[in-house]
Symmetry: C2
Subunit: 497 residues, 2 copies
Amino acid sequence: MSDLYLQYTKLRSTIADIENILAVLGWDHEVCMPKEGAFFRAQQISTLSGMSHEMSTSKEYIDVVEKLMAEPGLDFKQKKNIEESYKKLVKARKLNKKFIEKESKTYSEAYQDWIKARQEDKFSIFAPKLKEVVDIQKEKAELLGYKVHPYDALLDDYEPDLTTDHVEKVFKDVKINLSAFFDKIKGQPQPDQSFLNNHFDKTKQMALCRELITDLGYDWNSGRLDLSEHPFSTSFNPNDARITTRVNAEDLTESIWGSIHETGHAFYEMGLPSSEYGLPSGAYISLGMHESQSRLWENNVGKSANYIKTYWPLFQQYFPEAFGKTSDMEFFRGLNTVTPNLIRINSDEVTYHFHILLRFEIEKGIIEGSYEVKDLEEIWNSKIKEYLGLDVPSAKMGVLQDIHWSHGSFGYFPTYSLGSFYSAQFYHFANQAIPDLDQNISQKKFKPLLSWLRDNIHQYGHQFSSEELCTNVTGEGLNFKYFNNYLDKKYALVYQL
Amino acid sequence: MSDLYLQYTKLRSTIADIENILAVLGWDHEVCMPKEGAFFRAQQISTLSGMSHEMSTSKEYIDVVEKLMAEPGLDFKQKKNIEESYKKLVKARKLNKKFIEKESKTYSEAYQDWIKARQEDKFSIFAPKLKEVVDIQKEKAELLGYKVHPYDALLDDYEPDLTTDHVEKVFKDVKINLSAFFDKIKGQPQPDQSFLNNHFDKTKQMALCRELITDLGYDWNSGRLDLSEHPFSTSFNPNDARITTRVNAEDLTESIWGSIHETGHAFYEMGLPSSEYGLPSGAYISLGMHESQSRLWENNVGKSANYIKTYWPLFQQYFPEAFGKTSDMEFFRGLNTVTPNLIRINSDEVTYHFHILLRFEIEKGIIEGSYEVKDLEEIWNSKIKEYLGLDVPSAKMGVLQDIHWSHGSFGYFPTYSLGSFYSAQFYHFANQAIPDLDQNISQKKFKPLLSWLRDNIHQYGHQFSSEELCTNVTGEGLNFKYFNNYLDKKYALVYQL
């Protein structure tokens, strides 16, 4: 390793230390911090964020990266790391300090207005600030530059190298194939779900969560499960990847499949190579790839008939009163019922993607100027009617439901759907590579699957883009057909098609 | 406020942010962190510690403090802050980088040897490294400088401005008066303690701890109680002061009076003025003063006959099987029994101070050269025999019991006793200032006492030394007679003298 590259790894490691400490502060804030601690904690975080920014834009660091861009002797991984770091530097340089300050001020005000708008259930309270947020997004796209569509520049923050064209192609499938699939289901009688409307002791729910994710292979020596208002996963290094959940006494599914979902995220972080700490090769690729890992465990594994059958005795043991008279397949069907919901995060695996489709269409339209902010509520409501057949009774249940836009997160939503579609594709190939995968699961053996994900996805960190990695693993880029096949197979069982 | 002073407060606030973030990392390490997280956490802490050190020794900071030392227009508090900050800078400048590195390397090795020596129960394994630690202490004393005794320089780290002469004077009282008092008790029949040997459900213990410290006034919006292997209190700002405890199913006293002790520490931190965040005027004075606050609540309040009587119904309600047949005064007597113990931390309020006396004598002797490390075990054992009448069966139960020396903490021990003595003196004056204090306590009203401590001690931060503050509050410096009177009164009840 050249001295210069060594210097680069040391600088990256130090920058990562500070970023990971910020993550510890964030975790503590959500999970542990007493209420009154907020004021000085915000100041402490701001101080450290400033130091982190200074380090990652320091002359020393920039010089090292720029010199290494011209260094001939780097191996593949080293070259990828330098290119990725350089790309980030170039990007950061395009956004001047004045822009960053305006951005942060506007988002903070927009968040306040969003809260107020939700309280009074009026989109018009949020609209003026949202207009400012959108203008900032447009300005950002111009500052960052793009080849074809300004939205490309925004997508890149969440899913590097993803283009608007690509998302459009994917969502054409959603629009055509998923609509056809949804139409097919709509005619079927709904499975019974009444047993899900029960009281589930919170302590027992937590115990069951722990037992289930222990079986999946979550390593308690490198993680922990806590409660928080909004479930999340975070990590400070591959050996400390923590998850949280929320427990609702009236809804078992939130804690159980929420925990499995977050475990999938944690598996990805735990599987990143420690030896590459701080480097792109030791970091996740994208939000879409991260979401593919959480959804693979939550949906492809955790909501499969096989998994439910395997764990049904345990569910019954924990909640004999609720489930004593229910069969495993009844539970499977009830759990996987397709029912259009006004709220994205309460949606099933099918109709969820119409939610993302409409958000993508709105974001694209608004960035290219074919939609205007003042019309968003109307556009939203008509799209919900078109895709889900539902009437939106209030702004809170519609256009005001997500926090993302108030934070300036334009380009984030598509990664949720990409996660589902990638996970179906990966799971298909995991099934081919591990011929007895179903049998493994029915014996509560998850190690072969986890090892496959580690070997094929986690260990590479961010050496490839999602599309490159997907091609390496499956022989092609993202292909919606795998998700389609997955739905066909699963819902044949749910709706006895 | 002058621009320069404003610059000083901003720099101090930023330095405090980083120090408090380090405290968050420390808390997480002891309370939450999964085992495997240790490696990268150590690296993260080391990175941030380095940055903290750089900031507090930066040219910018030093320049500002030095200029302010010559500034005429500062008010009393500002002047005190600058003097205190300047004192620290001067001190830090006397220890060169090479010395600091040698120190840290030696302590880390000494700690390892201390662990090994304890495992094999052999002082000789620890002695060689301890000799090196002692040599470093001597060198440190010379580098820092002192007026009379080299030990003065070491005491200053824990109790600023305390001198060896002063400690000697205090411990003359321990040696003479406390020995006489101990002799008087030794002849008495021992109260029954058998009811303390019981099984106490851990969950119930924690619930009782919470109830008791809630009554004392611990603010859960600004703190939390968790479990850790070694109980401690820590704070990240006055609105986030956390405590931990340890729960032993065979020993109720550890969790209960441990929690009350740590609550006393947290009260001090919570009572420091937020407006002085990062400044000496917003920081605690010394370990001795901190310990006076924890021991006041633990012993003067929590182990008093009045407190026990008041809470006896609650104790009985929580543990009817253990305490159903015990009276409040029986419990009070059993709890406060004087029984010499080989282990310092298991000792009662009387014999505890002989432990500190012998450590002080040993530390002083070893620093001035009248004792040698190789003889320490023998010296220890003969002093334990002299003061407590006990034979030490093993090094682990004797000279190897405390971690302090392996960390290079010479001069720390005396602050424990000072804490007890200050607390007796403060409590005496609190009693005079709050005429119905006893009645308050028997009505579970602790606010008047806490307010008195806030008004007389906490709010001043480190504007005064312990002795100055003690004189401000009680009209004189530390006077052992208050502790003596406290013991006379308390043990008259315990031993029915």
